[in-house]
Structure formats: C-alpha cells, structure tokens
Amino acid sequence: MLEYGLRFLAGGIAVSAFAAISDTLRPRSFAGLFGAAPSIALATLLITLSQKGAPFAAVEGRSMIVGAFALATYSWMACVLLKKFLLSSWTATMAALVIWFVVALGLSAALFQLS
C-alpha cells in the first residue's frame, strides 16, 4: 500500500512539474516536446529499482521503446484529427488512444512475446 502511495505522489509531482515547464515554453510545438516527457517513467523506475531490481527495470525500458513509437503514432493521429477534421481536443485525443493500444500491443506481440 505504501509503495502505491509513493508511486501516486512521485507520479503526480513529476507529471505536474513537466506540464508546468511545458506551459511556460513557446513556440507551442517546442512546448509539445514535454507532452512526451519521461515523467511517469522516472517516477516508476525509481520505485521499481528499489522494489523489483534492475533486471525488471531493464525489461520495462525495452518495452518503453515500443511504447514511445506508439506515442509518436498517437500524437501524430491526434494532430491530424485536430487540424484536418477539426474535432475538439478531448474527442481527438481520446479517439486516438485506440491507435496507441493497437501499435503498442501489436508491435510488442510482433517483437517479443507478450508475457
């Protein structure tokens, strides 16, 4: 329970800090880089290292590469839905989540067996 409380606190702080930095930056496309900041990753890996050890964290890092390509596809799709189809931000970013799941799980299954 304490572990998950720590995760919540660390994740909340890391995400809020990167989001606040992003708010202050211009141009907007540069600020957007921080939308792909490793906020959840840093918070998670610090706790994973102490709880489950470095080999577990290394495997998470390898999967994260696949997750990052899924995030790139997701962000590009959200951009297209916003710019070309003029959907609202909420609708576009929620609809694009399907792409994240398809790319992340599909690539994972193709590259390394999901376990």
Binding site: A57, S63, A68, L97
Partner: protein, 138 residues
C-alpha cells in the same frame, strides 16, 4: 525561431487544473505499477509511454487559447484547436526522445542504475530538441 520562457502563462492555469494533472499523473503511475505487477515488465513497460495526461493537457491548451482570443473579440474555436494540434505535433517529435530514454535504461540500468537514469533523462531532452530542430530545417 527563438525559444522563449513565458512565466506569465502559469497564471492562466487555475488551481483545479494543476490538481487534475497531479491526480491523473499520480493515478497513471499507480496503474502502470499495477499492470507491471499483474502482467510483467514487458506489458508494464509499454505504459511508461502511455499518453495519460495528454487529453487533459490538450483540452486545457484549446480552452486557454480560445478564451484569450474571445477576450480580444476574435473567433477562438479554430485557433484553440490549432494550438492543441501544434502541441500534439511537438509530442510526436518528443516521442523519439522517449525512445532514446528507454534505450539507455534497457542497455545501462543493470550495470549502473543511477547513471542510467541521469543519462536517459539527458538523452530524452537532447534527442527531443534535436528532432524538433531537424523538423524545422526540413
């Protein structure tokens, strides 16, 4: 194009909007931990790159830009969406930095955990900024 810091932008975000980000970020970190515990590190690692707060952030950007334009007597709906689209384009470029982060963690964390995290964070920033510059040159 010059990269600028506008600290005044922080005042536009309301306290409950900061709270939403904190709670979503915290909740997603807990969920990522639960997924890793239940399904193992292969699936768990994917969720370290999940766009957890992206929908909330994009909605805030659209809302802030729309409000600013409408206060100035201009139609803001389209500009709000364009601003959110630019943010999403930036996140797509930043994702390459996130892949570099994962690569460093994967290759170094067993040998040197602390240095791996420091180098991974530096690599994320370097690759993300470089990718952004390359995109502008093309």
């Amino acid at each position: 194009m010059i990269i600028q810091f506008k600290t005044s932008a922080l005042r536009q975000t309301r306290w409950y909007e900061y709270l939403v980000r904190f709670v979503l970020g915290g909740a997603m970190t807990v969920v990522a931990g639960l997924i890793a515990a239940r399904f193992g590190p292969v699936v768990g690692g994917l969720f370290l790159a999940f766009p957890a707060i992206f929908p909330a952030s994009a909605t805030l950007i659209e809302k802030h830009v729309r409000e600013r334009k409408e206060e100035a007597g201009l139609p803001g709906a389209r500009r709000g969406k364009e601003a959110a689209a630019l943010d999403a384009a930036g996140a797509a470029l930043g994702s390459f930095g996130l892949a570099a982060f994962g690569l460093i963690v994967w290759s170094m964390i067993v040998q040197s955990p602390a240095w791996a995290l420091v180098l991974a964070a530096a690599s994320w920033l370097a690759v993300a900024v470089l990718t952004w510059h390359v995109r502008r040159w093309l």
